[in-house]
């Protein structure tokens, strides 16, 4: 007997605009599945496939415009018929949900301990018992110093810690059914791994049915026993994870799997890309002729150091991946290169010539040479402009010689989309327009700031392939900023790893992946490897949270506080040496990473 049984669930939203409500296709269309106690069912699909609607239907939290039919049975209770007091009773005893954005699930005006205690008091505990239990719950979600965290407000803790608090609240309910709706989307890779580990640990002791909603097949593989693949409101395939992901029977599952960029795939061995675009044999263009050199760039935001003496070199036609977690300063560095952010100190050279750091002071030829693709598809284009106008303007101002139609075609935009307002485009289409806008002229360098992080997996792959294609055809260099090492390794020729405003490691992609690693790079690599999950032990929780740090306090290595291989008495007090290894790696670390190449060669091979 399954704990949760959903039978023939159909949800249609009544459109306020159209009078003919029957015409609107249902968001969820005859979906049936079941989850046993202690089991985790993965619900995967792209945005808009109806997976969150299913969660809301089970939670009985759909808006009044939704029309629901079908049966939802949890442990013998017919959820669909609950109302009033019995629904509230069910909510406080049987059901818990963890949302994508923890900050929207927490009350910003209440201390987090009090929020957890509130749940416990609703369940009947008295005030003291609830407060004590809240702290022990915080301890169980692996919070260092739970008593101190309990006294903080949500905005005073990091995103990962907020999600732990939400999970603690879910635990307080001791639910029969736990729904996790993209619980780690938006968290840094290292934090994501910790949260997933926590969920895996707690699942075993809760013996609840878990519904895990995600767009990420990699997460399903790690977290779930069974998986249901959802497309356009219908379950296309359903079965044990091992069967579905290894030998998918449905065409759509195969497409999803093909779209995802698996670990280890790069632009050199991507069959889908190479079928469309044969790889151009790259003749190394005049070795030692850098396109862009950044040296000693410093940027403080008040007391926070975003950039702390950064050096970076990008050669013509090269893709440099810049990775690091949020707050590491990678976006700031990208913006400094474009001139949108003016550094406090430092120098930027374009083709050997020093250029103004302030965009307003740059000559138009320099400005045209460095363009940018932004992160958020929803803010990157003016919603009041039409695609044609966006491209026409970019061609005019950036001195492009192509027609709007040619430019659109080169970025795989249909001619009919040219007349549309940009606000009517999908996320992927918006990013295509944004890319077309950036390459309308003769940009030599395009800074791409997390251009695919807000897109669906399948769309991500097509946008990455488009970037590679354009970069190779037009011989444009890319600085690809991302928190996702899998994405960076796919298209980068070189990788720079940033932590707390320092580039701690830099080198050719293969060398960075092969090692020896800076301890932070090692952590990133472990977090990005989907199979590196070790379900036995609890990971080291980084109590520090974010990586932003205050000015004027660094004497040793920036990573010393968090480093598992820290050398006591050295790392925290002495700045690490810059090591040049024979693989072309440049690493700032005290650890023994093998022999440095001798100084003479180092001088030559040192990238800057």
């Amino acid at each position: 007997m399954s704990l949760l049984t959903v039978a023939d669930l159909t949800v249609a939203y009544r459109s306020p605009r159209s009078a003919a409500a029957g015409v609107v296709p249902p968001a969820v269309d005859g979906v049936s599945f079941h989850v046993d106690a202690g089991e985790t069912l993965g619900l995967v699909g792209e945005s808009g496939c109806g997976k969150s609607t299913i969660a809301l239907a089970i939670a009985r939290s759909l808006p009044p415009t939704a029309r629901v039919s079908g049966r939802i049975n949890l442990g013998g209770t017919d959820v669909a018929t609950l109302a009033g007091a019995s629904l509230r009773q069910w909510w406080r005893s049987d059901f818990a949900m963890v949302y994508q954005e923890p900050q929207s699930a927490l009350n910003p005006t209440m201390r987090v301990g009090a929020q957890i205690a509130e749940v416990l008091r609703v369940k009947g505990l008295d005030r003291q018992a609830a407060d004590r239990e809240a702290i022990s719950l915080l301890e169980r979600v692996a919070m260092a110093d739970p008593a101190a965290i309990a006294r903080r407000y949500p905005h005073q803790i990091s995103g990962g810690q907020q999600q732990r608090v939400v999970i603690a609240m879910a635990l307080a309910i001791r639910p029969q059914l736990l729904v996790l709706d993209e619980p780690t989307t938006g968290l840094d890779a290292t934090v994501e791994r910790e949260i997933l580990q926590l969920i895996a640990d707690l699942r075993a002791e809760l013996s609840a049915a878990v519904l895990f909603i995600t767009h990420d097949l990699g997460l399903v593989e790690r977290m779930c026993e069974r998986v249901a693949v959802l497309q356009a409101g219908q379950i296309k395939e359903h079965g044990p994870v091992a069967n579905v992901l290894v030998a998918p029977t449905h065409e759509y599952t195969r497409e999803l799997l093909a779209c995802a960029i698996p670990p280890g795939r790069t632009k050199h061995n991507d069959a889908v890309l190479r079928a469309a675009v044969p790889e151009i044999e790259h003749v190394p263009t005049a070795a030692g002729s850098p396109l862009l050199e950044v040296s000693n760039v410093v940027k403080h935001y008040g007391a926070v150091v975003a950039s702390d003496g950064v050096r970076l070199r990008i050669d013509a036609g090269q893709v440099v991946g810049l990775v690091g977690e949020s707050g590491s300063g990678k976006t700031t560095l990208g913006r400094i290169i474009t001139g949108l952010t003016v550094p406090d100190e430092g120098e930027i050279r374009l083709r050997g010539e020093v250029i103004a750091t302030d965009l307003a002071r740059r000559r138009s030829a320099v400005r045209r040479s460095i363009q940018m693709v932004f992160q958020s598809p929803d803010s990157t284009l003016n919603p009041r402009h039409r695609v044609r106008d966006v491209l026409k303007r970019a061609l005019l101002k950036l001195g492009g010689s192509r027609t709007v139609e040619q430019l659109a075609a080169s970025c795989r935009l249909d001619a009919q989309q040219l007349g549309q307002l940009t606000s009517t485009l999908s996320g992927g289409q918006k990013q295509r327009v944004a890319i077309a806008r950036a390459i309308a002229g003769d940009a030599a360098l395009v800074v791409c700031d997390e251009p695919v992080s807000a897109l669906d997996v399948s769309v991500q792959a097509t946008i990455l392939r488009l970037l590679v294609e354009l970069q190779e055809h037009r011989d444009v260099a890319l600085l690809f900023v991302s928190h996702d090492l899998a994405v960076v390794r796919y298209l980068s020729d070189r990788i720079a790893v940033m932590y707390a405003g320092r580039i701690v490691e830099e080198g050719p992609t293969e060398a960075v992946l092969a090692g020896p690693h800076h301890p932070y790079t090692a952590e990133l690599l472990a977090a990005s490897d989907h199979r590196a999950m070790d379900t036995g032990s609890r990971p080291v929780f980084s109590a520090g949270g974010g990586t932003a740090r205050s000015a004027g306090e660094r004497i040793g290595c920036v990573f010393a506080d968090r480093c598992p291989q820290r050398i006591e008495g050295l790392c925290a007090t002495t700045a690490p040496p810059v090591r040049h290894l024979d693989t072309g790696l440049r690493i700032e670390c005290h650890l023994d990473l093998g022999p440095d190449i001798d100084d003479e060669v180092a001088g030559e091979a040192a990238r800057i």
Binding site: P16, T338, G339, L340, L359, S364, R367, R368, I370, Q371, M372, F374, Q375, S376, S379, T380, L381, N382, P383, R384, H385, R393, A394, K397, L398, A434, R437
Partner: protein, 275 residues
């Protein structure tokens, strides 16, 4: 309040819109065709018919000079519907330009401009108007300029807040990377995205302006006493309220209906935009 409730239900919102537009259309028609619609001249005195009750011949009755109140109420639409829209237009243009510039540039320009605007905001809204009319005398031009001036800070405020949001958008940064001029960024990138807020704000100010004109006339600083201005009519006849209520009620209702219909229109526009 009415607008809020209307917002929940689209069909009720439609009813609100129809009522507001109808009332507004009646007053616009009155302003344009007062001569055709009014049965009498607003200043024609019928000495034998002082304080006549409302009747078929004199729908709204007559006042103490034997003037037809219905005709005077119709005639009163023109001054108000000339001055209020012109004043709001002036305030909208000035406020939009100021708001765009202060919001986009921020920094010192913004601080100085905001301090000046705040120093006006601490005064009662009609105080500068009263002062100006007292000094410059009353004329349509003075009223338009004075009211336009009085409403400029509020519109600047709205435009500035909206601009502060828009200037952070990535399409504005993309425009800067393209080398667009500030004028282009303000006019073509930002303005189209905040036009809706400006329209809502201006409509709200239009209702405000109608009320302010009536208030100024009531305290004797707008239209001349004896003219068929609604505020002046209420002021002139308030002593007669106890025995000739119609001389006060109808011009007052005229002011109220115009203010409310414009406010409802503003609500509907606001709800449409957020829906």
């Amino acid at each position: 309040m009415i607008g809020l409730r209307a917002a929940r239900d689209p069909s009720r919102r439609r009813v609100t819109l129809v009522i507001a537009v109808t009332v507004l259309a009646v007053w616009i028609a009155s302003a344009l065709f007062a001569g055709l619609l009014a049965p009498f001249s607003p200043s024609a005195q019928l000495p034998r018919l002082k304080f006549a009750d409302p009747s078929v011949h004199h729908l709204f009755g007559t006042d103490g000079f034997g003037r037809d109140v219905f005709s005077r109420v119709i005639a009163g639409a023109r001054p108000v519907l000339t001055i209020a829209p012109l004043a709001v237009l002036l305030a909208t243009v000035a406020g939009t330009v100021l708001g765009l510039i202060t919001g986009y540039f921020g920094g010192l320009t913004d601080s100085i401009a905001m301090k000046i605007l705040q120093s006006f905001a601490i005064l009662p809204p009609l105080f500068p108007a009263v002062l100006a009319v007292a000094l410059l005398g009353r004329s349509t031009t003075v009223l338009v300029v004075v009211l336009g001036f009085a409403f400029t800070p509020l519109i600047t405020w709205t435009v500035r807040s909206a601009t502060l949001v828009e200037r952070e958008k990535q399409f504005v940064e993309a425009a800067r990377l393209r080398g667009e001029s500030t004028a282009y960024i303000l006019g073509r990138e930002i303005l189209p995205n905040i036009a809706g807020s400006i329209i809502v704000e201006s409509t709200v100010r239009l209702a405000d302006a109608v009320f302010s004109i009536a208030t100024l006339a009531f305290i004797g600083l707008g239209a001349a006493p004896g003219s068929p201005d609604w505020g002046a009519q209420v002021a002139d006849n308030r002593v007669n309220l106890q025995f000739a209520w119609w001389t006060v009620l109808f011009p007052a209702v005229a002011v109220a209906s115009l203010v409310i219909s414009v406010s409802l229109l503003a609500d509907v526009i606001r709800e449409r935009r957020s829906a």
